[in-house]
Symmetry: D2
Subunit: 423 residues, 4 copies
């Protein structure tokens, strides 16, 4: 009785299916031979078909599956994927819906955007579409990139705090040389901040780079590596060990460092929705939305949320997949702060994302259908990253408005039933 029911229930179910010996046997290492898979660094039809032979022989997948994944169009385009993946067997097709016009009044993003969203979650596109509709009717969304720079944080281990101190003293006095060493590896990357964090005999260097139009994670790795080589060659005390990344930068995961200091782009977006548009298009009142906003803010606090928002991840995952961004960066990018206020009877809504990793060149942005996604936005190529960041924030804002209204109006469940269950 003092053990939570869901725990005893899980154990009961487990006991019904397995006895202890079965579980012990199941978890033991197995020495039977491993039939290794021969890797293929480059994508080719030959290697893809070789993989499929193995898949068809060894798994539940069938011929239709192989044709679905390794379809003729993909076969034709295989070289286009060459530098983006290994062991390629084809492509997965993620449905794309269009949302818009998303009116963005940004410093860099200006105009009415049609936004491609790749998702398999019913109601998601409709919900963002509603937000875009409401904000456009209100004159659009102000958006501004306010902070920039991708972190890489090499770590150095010494024999004592005294050694670390000598090292850091040298690092700080050699900052310009370190900057030069890092920047020699890249045309677009600039080392704009170098901040040591010392914990006794170990220290981390927070290196912040501006990365041009690339999301920049490889660029900063290479530049930081060059900087570290310079450091190790020239520092008056040699580290016992050093690492190009000390698992401190928040790369691919939520962290308070990213939330507090920014990582990638920091973007803010807001709109003021007139009370009558709220009533007409969102079927609730400004006060009802504010009321829910207060409860939702409390919910985020009481549950120890990293930030305080509803579902940026929905917008970002769908936009990232449709435009060739690194979907793993949803983990760190989908963090931020949504606020709502009464503005003379109208509703001011604001979002801030401190940690947005996007690019308009490099990574997956040049793949065939992903570059098409960026062209739909008009944001493919050089000079477009700040605008993409502002569009992403504006999109998040649409989703926050729509879900808050759905909650406030009691529509949320109905909407999901309507969209997901109409089969």
């Amino acid at each position: 009785m003092i053990v939570p029911f869901h725990i005893s229930e899980l154990l009961t179910r487990l006991r019904e299916r397995f006895d202890e010996n079965a579980i012990n046997r199941a978890l033991m290492a197995s020495k039977r031979e491993v039939r290794r898979l021969r890797p293929a660094r480059r994508a080719s039809e030959q290697s893809a078909r070789r993989f499929w032979e193995r898949i068809l022989a060894d798994t539940d997948a069938n011929k239709a599956d192989s044709e679905m994944i390794l379809d003729p169009q993909t076969v034709a385009d295989l070289p286009a994927y060459d530098a983006n993946i290994e062991n390629m067997i084809g492509t997965v097709k993620v449905p794309v819906g269009i949302v818009g016009p998303l009116r963005v009044n940004g410093i860099h993003a200006q105009g009415d955007f049609l936004v491609p969203l790749a998702t398999s979650e019913a109601a998601l596109v409709a919900s963002y579409g509603r937000g875009a509709d409401v904000t456009a009717a209100a004159g659009g969304i102000s958006a501004a990139l306010t902070y920039d720079g991708v972190l890489r944080t090499p770590a150095f281990k010494f024999g004592s705090a005294a050694e670390t101190g000598v090292f850091l003293n040298w690092v700080v006095q050699s900052a310009e040389a370190l900057k030069a060493a890092a920047e020699a590896t890249t045309r677009h990357g600039k080392l704009v901040s170098l901040e040591p964090a010392m914990d006794n005999e170990i220290c981390f260097l927070r290196c912040r780079f501006m990365t041009g139009d690339a999301s920049g994670q490889n660029m900063v790795t290479i530049a930081t590596s060059a900087m570290c080589e310079y450091i190790v060659a020239n520092a008056p005390v040699k580290p016992r060990a050093w690492y190009v990344e000390g698992n401190y930068s928040g790369d691919k995961k939520g962290s308070f460092l990213g939330l507090l200091t920014g990582r990638g782009a920091k973007v803010t977006a807001s709109a003021t929705i007139p009370a009558d548009i709220v009533r007409r298009k969102l079927r609730c009142t400004v006060d009802e939305m504010l009321e829910y906003g207060r409860v939702a803010n409390l919910g985020s606090l009481l549950s120890g949320q990293l930030g305080a928002q509803a579902h940026y991840a929905n917008a970002l995952a769908a936009l990232f997949i449709a435009t060739g961004q690194d979907a793993a960066c949803v983990a760190e990018s989908a963090v931020g702060f949504t606020r709502m206020e009464d503005c003379d009877g109208d509703l001011m809504v604001s979002v801030t994302l401190p940690n947005l990793l996007v690019g308009t060149v490099g990574g997956g942005t040049g793949l065939p259908s992903q570059s098409a996604g960026l062209r739909i936005l008009g944001l493919r190529g050089s000079g477009k990253r700040p605008a993409l960041a502002e569009v992403a924030a504006a999109l998040c804002l649409c989703g926050e408005i729509s879900i808050v209204a759905a909650m406030a109006a009691g529509d949320f469940v109905r909407a999901h039933e309507r969209y997901a269950r109409h089969r």
Copy 2:
């Protein structure tokens, strides 16, 4: 000088391109007419072509883009996407690489899995492949689902703490009736825990559901909604407002609630790699990996990471996209704890993910290429969710081993250069 350089630098760049008036004008609401997009709830060739007409007229996208996104195969399969998206314009093609065999010695997952990973990040598939190779050579990965249940957390607002107290007293005494009301909406969902959290006149009910083989987020929403309707109809005090979700459950975002109490599946996986395999296949020593592990653990602590791990998000995003999971759930799922220990000279590595949202039915799991992805794993359909969760954890383990070894051996940069720059 007292202002950080990267901030003054960003402002300088901004000033070079825009004056204050230009920025003010840019951010102002615009009253020009909005050309709305007619929504299309169902996917059809007709509506897709209609959207493309607009896209081709209004954006940078061209005919080739439209053929890339709305290719013949996608056109033929449009009805298959019908219940998963609105305003569909086609599909984005995400390259899929294969990793394996991933040997999993799980309670539910047993055997050598070929794992499809959808990503555009060079080196990712190769890195996970290396982890799979190493762990298979060591006899495989133990994995166990240890905790289960998706949270939904409705909120109720009352006039005072006294009213909330009366309400909660009734809720606790009516728990079985509430459970019945919730479970009446679902064949597979079970309400297994109901825990109130009160903050003065507002209270949240943490409802934990077991959800069968679905990831279950819609299921728990509908069940909770029914429970709330029952509550509102029967409670001795009526809430002034109530919401099916009080932004407390951690849905689609990282939170300490999920980390602490689990949300979705909690899975743990581990392997012990003999020292000679470490040396031969990972080109470093057990001690070097442990040394980096200690630094990386410190890095995660000092940076306020939610959990302590390197890059679960890479594994999960790629697996989620390839198998029709909700990619937005990477935000909450990519949280956990990686540990390494010396085990009589060999290397024990362990991962625990408290918050893994996956399903083998529902959502995007039935889409044409996504269901193929699940069939490659042999994990499509009923009864397979626990095994998928164990495979996902085992995959994360492979990535942790590979990246730690790359860091410890100083290989990390070289590997990325090799894979990303071979064009």
Copy 3:
């Protein structure tokens, strides 16, 4: 330039005073002989005087200091301190101010309390006094203990996840026996929850105890220890190691576990202050306070605060010292959530502390001046802990109201200047 100025500045100052060799020498271990201090478990005048001989010989302290610390009253009372401290040399005198009447309308605390606060921070007592005045004028503060129980979390390490699973299965099935073993050590402690948390081969047991009127940290340690002894004697698999506390309970430090699940008492308090009292006594308007409240809430979110409040620690530290609580528990107790809302033009303010460690028996509550502090509150002895918890929350509320008003009215600086600088 890319290194933050305050870091280079600190290094510059350091270099001005020390060269590298001096620092290296300073940090080195010293082998000179240690003149040990002979410990004295029991407090006696003889041992105190013996310590003072050493102090006077070896330190800057002088005879006046010894008379200040080891004053006649303290000498007379030495036996009273006997079970609370070792190596006793006297007492430190912390000034106590009185606040009130604090009108509390609690479930357990009822009436107008005079509250002793021990602090050396100017303006603190005055500020809390203002809050008490305002809330009393508004009819007092509602307060309720809503959750209870002190955590102790032993840890067990096994050889594998499989062993841990077998162990946990046994633990869950043996819960009643474990409860009995724990409760056999205590008259007042009850084990009311037992929840396992497993991370591969290691598991923690979250044990929650109700502890009667003691804050209960020693009680739960002893009870948990007995439970562990039972476990180790009877479990079907023996742990390789076990610990009565796995550093998981949040004892003496802020943690999201305490924030989320409560530790000690969870208490909530609120008051509604009429607009005219706000204006008259706080010299600002309800709207101004709400406006600051929104900014302050954003501040707490953006800075990654554990909870969201202004300065509970001021109230709790002063109350804890004056009433013999464990002042170290301020670290975990001073966490919570302050909210403000417009209530038909008046101001509703609410505080919730999930983690309050207080007692009215045991610990320092029986010391001569500390028990006087509790008697001033009328809360010394059995049956009074819930009321003390409610009073503590009400006191925190007073401080939040006062500081928010000071910030909103621009009074904050003036008040501190007035009180701190009147010498």
Copy 4:
């Protein structure tokens, strides 16, 4: 059954004692007249006796209590407390034990310190004494202040993000003038960093001050206030509202900002304990301590601890009270990172506190018995703050070593029973 037992148990107990109506009545505002307390800003015997008349009339406190609190020594010293408290009624006597010699090999703290600790928790002094003994036997504790500066973070609210941008642009370009305005108020304070954090129409300025030998919280408030006055008078856009502190600085509470960027002093301390000293004095082995260390680190991660340590709060609360520090700052200061490593068979232990608020002038450091405490340490007055910070960190290290050893050796419970129950 699905409701946790401890919650239903609490409700059951409540129902046994109170019915709903009783609770409702109890929580209602009360309109009976309030007998206000006439405040006394200055401490005098007359006002203290006046307060006692009221206390004796209205509370459980008796004549003996009044003599205990308002003892002759305190009466004689009343003027000494004058600028530190309002409504003074006397002093509370907190027992002080002595620990040492604590051998510190710091940059600023050098030598063998006798450390006064004020606490009522049995075993605390003995435990720290054991740590001091062990580290002294090992040659002492290296300690270094590595970062410095107290934060104050004013907030400004504007009408739009565009206005905020214009404002921040001006702030950054006016940084030297702002620095001058701030520093004009103080002889010792230096504004060494000014970093804006913008969230749409609201911005915070993180102002970091070096504060000389004061803990500095009042100093930075006054300096920041002057800076804000300058800003408001001169900025090209006027804020709609501004506040000298936006609840962002982490003042008196744990926050990730403090943990990440430091607040107050950042100090690190470490010692390497030879294996034979571990065995002889701590009754366990290095491996046993490391084993517990790994479990404890996992415990801190799994429980969402702010930092990762065992009980810095015990050391800091006791030291703060004994030396006139602000005990409320335990809430923010008791955060940090403890690490242990094998060092060629010996045990390296390290602590880092990023957030330590201490002073050797100002606040309560000049009070009669508190200044005696500082003199025992030899750290009263100008130029001593860095050394006090290093001593505090060294003291925390002693506590970590002692508790880890107690846990590893299974001594923890026994020690508490021995010390607490010998009455």
